[in-house]
């Protein structure tokens, strides 16, 4: 019993380190990526190629004054950033990085991730409400309607995969995609359901929903800076803002982990297990896949302008949800046939 507890504590500690390092260096990657798309070098001053920029930014954020404006609902105001960060950390506990690197394999891992993802949406509402700022309020109302609209297709798509795999355990879902890249769920050919043309579409839906769930451009309506100044975190300074920021990047990592596990075969080597080191099923492939997806996230952010809230809701309710529902029905039917 105590060993399990120790395990979980250790796992959370490692998750915090992983998330912290990722958040810090993803910001660096983001800025370098932005520079690459914008004909400029990005951060270059601190360290070789600006590699010391993230720790220095961290120190700056931590040493700044945490300003609590008059008139805010203090308790709620203070809780919101914590609420943004902690669900992301907990979610990492169930994510299998390879067949043996997983903090705590929970049989309902998918459920855990979605339960805590929903909590992340609440932090935005709480932050906007507690700030007592009109811009923050508008932003949090937007963010919540966005979270609700995009969690539905996200869940339906995931249920489709769960139906194919017959398991809510993320590890088991990957175990079924280990025979080379043709066995990945993203392809329309699958041994369980035969031929389902909608699978790549489902993959796209999951991808779009992850972008929207993490409030990233072109769906960054919660913090649309040209309309709502900084949205729900307008009033936050110092680490309050820092936690929102880290929470956002942690959510990106979780989103890409989920895409990788559900559709791209997790830690599996795309060529099947060849027995020679880099070409075995190992954690390297998993990291490669999630960072490729994060790269696409960054690429999209620096290419497209922002949509509007009604455009975003239309996309979800009129297209994504019907298509994913149809795919759910189709998959269920095919499962019966084959």
């Amino acid at each position: 019993m105590s060993l399990t507890l120790l395990n979980v504590v250790l796992a959370v500690f490692i998750a915090i380190c992983f998330v912290g390092a990722n958040a810090a260096y993803l910001v660096w990657c983001e800025r370098k990526g932005a520079g690459f798309y914008q004909r400029r070098p990005g951060p270059m001053e601190n360290g070789w190629w600006g590699l010391l920029q993230p720790p220095i930014d961290g120190v700056k954020l931590m040493t700044k004054q945490l300003l609590i404006p008059g008139g805010v609902d203090k308790a709620i105001f203070m809780v919101a950033p914590v609420l943004a960060m902690f669900p992301a950390l907990i979610s990492f506990v169930t994510i299998p990085f390879s067949d043996n690197i997983v903090a705590h394999p929970i049989d309902v891992g998918v459920l855990v991730i979605f339960a805590f993802a929903a909590l992340g949406g609440m932090s935005l509402l709480v932050a906007g409400w507690g700030s007592r700022n009109k811009y923050s309020m508008i932003s949090s109302v937007r963010a919540v309607s966005q979270t609700v609209a995009y969690e539905i297709p996200l869940l339906i798509t995931t249920i489709t995969i769960v139906m194919i795999s017959g398991s809510l355990n993320l590890g088991d879902i990957v175990q079924q995609q280990l025979d080379g890249f043709l066995s990945w769920n993203v392809w329309p050919l699958h041994k369980e359901v035969g031929f389902n043309l909608l699978m790549p579409v489902s993959f796209l839906i999951l991808f779009v929903c992850s972008v929207a769930e993490t409030n990233r451009a072109p769906f960054d309506l919660g913090e649309a800076e040209s309309e709502l100044v900084a949205g729900f975190h307008t009033e936050y300074s110092s680490m309050g803002f820092g936690l929102f920021f880290m929470g956002e990047y942690a959510n990106i990592v979780i989103g890409s982990c989920l895409i990788t596990i559900l559709f791209l075969g997790g830690w599996s080597c795309p060529f099947g297990d060849l027995g020679i080191f880099p070409f075995t099923h190992n954690v390297g492939w998993f990291l490669l896949k999630i960072y490729l997806i994060i790269f696409v996230f960054i690429w999209i952010r620096w290419t497209f302008p922002r949509t509007t809230i009604y455009g975003l809701l239309n996309l979800s309710w009129k297209y994504l949800i019907p298509i994913s529902l149809f795919n759910l029905l189709l998959t269920a039917g095919l499962l019966k046939v084959f």
Binding site: R39, A217, D220, L221, S226, W302, T303, P305, T308
Partner: protein, 372 residues
């Protein structure tokens, strides 16, 4: 699409946009009465950057007032230089050498392109796309370098003199400008691919921010705002000045009336400006850039004088009343975005906040010019 809704007057709140807000690009303040995310009414509050430019004209001699022109519209300062030089030349009857006229046209049009580039970058930034801003500023940098080499300044130019120019251009400027024209044509094609055809951008601009012809005329809107509503009015064609009649160029007009129409008009104007520069460089005559005979002291005979030029934002009119002294008796500046801005309240009612700010960006506001 935003649907027109019944707005409830008694369930509104006031959202204070500005004077420090990322979308207003300066110290413009708009008091928006909102019903949810819909705008019930928008009240513009000016005065945050008022510097009494008109009053200054009454206390300075005519040459001393020239630097003020660069401080009005900091993005197309050259055209403002032109307007002021034009009205004083008309008042004093000073002849401008032909070479100077051509150089004036070249620099004004270069400045117009750089102004539109800033607008394009800032506008797409308003819509949430950051990358085009960097591309636009990269191109604008080429223009600033060219203009810096002849005028000595990069932003607030004071290049024009009564009857001529501060400085002649050199061969380096001419070759640099020709190289820039080739580069800019390529870049405009890139912008068309990167920005103009973008589905998100089109959805956000098409059908939003409708201003019809009648509203433009009622408010006295000019420039790309009026031309985007199908109003074919451009001072360069309608009240020709300088050597514009000798150059072959088109005035882009679009009947769309929406934000996208204004966007397209400005993109087309950049191409036309390149055409003008190219022709002016070909026709550039030899000769002095300042008149041989020029009065030592500028003292226009008493009377009432007017000149108008087309800046990047529209009709800039300048009315000078002289009592024969060395200072103006009264100088009235009619700046384009002051009129363009006042459409905003009427046109934005019932719009969503996000659309209204996209609409505001399409008016291309420069606050120091509006709020002189």
């Amino acid at each position: 699409m935003s649907q027109p809704i019944e707005l409830q007057k008694d369930e509104t709140f006031v959202l204070n946009v500005g004077p420090q807000h990322p979308a207003t690009h300066g110290v413009l303040r708009v008091k928006m009465t909102m019903d949810g995310e819909y705008i019930y009414k928008a009240e513009t509050v000016l005065g945050y950057i008022h510097r009494m430019h008109e009053k200054m004209a009454e206390n300075r001699t005519y040459p001393q007032y020239m630097p003020n022109m660069g401080r009005l519209d900091y993005l197309s300062a050259m055209a403002f230089n032109h307007g002021y030089a034009l009205v004083v030349e008309r008042a004093c009857g000073i002849e401008v050498p032909e070479r100077a006229e051509y150089i004036r046209v070249i620099t004004v049009e270069l400045n117009r392109i750089s102004s539109h580039l800033v607008w394009l970058g800032a506008y797409v930034l308003d819509l949430g796309g950051f990358t085009p801003l960097m591309y636009c500023f990269d191109d604008r940098e080429q223009i600033l370098d060219l203009l810096e080499s002849v005028t000595g300044s990069r932003l607030t130019y004071c290049y024009f003199r009564f009857g001529g120019l501060y400085n002649d251009i050199d061969d380096e400027f001419i070759t640099g400008t020709r190289a820039f024209i080739i580069r800019m044509r390529k870049e405009l094609k890139m912008y068309a691919k990167l920005v103009t055809g973008n589905i998100i951008l089109m959805k956000r601009l098409q059908g939003h921010g409708i201003i019809d012809k009648d509203m433009c005329q009622r408010y006295g809107a000019t420039g790309p705002v009026a031309r985007g509503s199908g109003l074919n009015y451009d001072v360069r064609k309608n009240e020709p000045y300088s050597v514009y009649p000798e150059l072959d160029f088109d005035i882009p007009v679009n009947d769309g009336c929406d934000s996208y129409a204004r966007y397209l008009v400005r993109m087309e104007e950049m191409e036309q400006s390149l055409r003008i520069i190219e022709q002016a460089l070909d026709k550039l005559p030899e000769g002095p850039v300042n008149p041989e005979k020029k009065p030592k002291l500028i003292k226009p005979p008493s009377g009432d004088y007017y000149a108008a030029v087309e800046t990047a934002r529209g009709n800039f009119g300048i009315r000078l009343v002289s009592d024969g002294g060395k200072n103006a008796y009264r100088l009235k500046l009619r700046s384009p975005t002051y009129s363009n801005m006042h459409l905003f309240d009427e046109a934005c009612r019932g719009m969503l906040l996000a659309d209204a700010l996209a609409f505001m960006g399409s008016l291309d506001l420069v606050i120091p010019e509006m709020d002189r």
